[in-house]
Symmetry: C2
């Protein structure tokens, strides 16, 4: 029953796990959209701002041309979770701005208050970008400062640094 | 927007991740059911044989009263993946026997040929069994021999020991 070769890619666990865990982010956002943010939680969401389907004002995209981290903690409005994207209104420089982000654009998700984190590659696009770059983006499973500048809703400065202790780096699911 | 206390449980990432990864097993089984087992793969599936909804002949359940590991590799028939359960026919003692297993009964899933593994707790039932037992079942993320005796389809003895190197132990998602 074992067949060699070309059909081996049909069981790519790394991709299945990545898709499943993006679904966890979707579910978390949907719950927060539905019931509000439970105490002790804050959502740090990092995404590629140049990813197709990301919508935000041009001046904001100019400020964060490649990556952006938003924080859902004290001030956010109209959070909505759809099948492929989520949307939220945040205050930047005193103005409320709507941002729409496909889950496929996410590169990291943290909820430091409960020490939970996920880190995603961008497998959808580049596919197998080569071991060198994969190694570069892996950087181990140890939490590191988020790669993108954090664009926080204005009065939302957390009282302390995120102390995320559990970050699941999806590189650990990839074949060596 | 942060509220303390009773609603904190609404963002239980550990449960969301566990459900998502059981979904990965479902997807993998569904793909194998649809296209056959790609070369280089073999599925080691460990489940609680006393879990509600597990169906197998009485004599087999008597032999594996608590846990059982089946191996889908060389000889298996009529693999089917439904929403909540999967079914497969295996040969035991020269007789083909049908086994039905809810995904919720799974405690481990390994595909040693590609060094992928998942290990599940049984959160659905016991819920928060206490730190002591949780610690006991955790045993670190390092792969260990499967806790259940492996009941293999007869000529299916793998040519070498499973060399699973990547096991995701869901304890790592749990709050300390």
């Amino acid at each position: 029953m074992a067949r060699e070769g070309m059909d081996k890619d049909l069981l790519r666990y790394d991709r299945m796990v990545e898709a499943a865990l993006r679904g966890v982010v979707r579910e978390a956002i949907a719950r927060v959209a539905g019931i509000g943010l439970p105490g002790g939680h804050s959502l740090y969401i990092t995404f590629r701002s140049d990813f197709p389907g990301v919508e935000m004002p041009d001046w904001l995209k100019a400020q964060y041309p490649e990556a952006m981290t938003i924080v859902l903690e004290h001030q956010f409005w109209d959070l909505s979770a759809d099948e492929e994207t989520f949307g939220v209104t945040l205050s930047f420089k005193g103005r409320r701005q709507r941002i729409t982000v496909p889950y496929a654009a996410l590169t990291a998700f943290h909820d430091p208050g409960v020490q939970f984190g996920l880190r995603f590659d961008q497998m959808q696009e580049g596919e197998e970008k080569g071991a060198a770059q994969a190694g570069k983006t892996a950087a181990g499973a140890v939490p590191t400062p988020l790669p993108a500048p954090a664009a926080k809703p204005e009065p939302a400065a957390p009282s302390e640094e995120p102390k995320t202790a559990q970050v699941v780096n999806l590189e650990s699911f990839r074949k060596k």
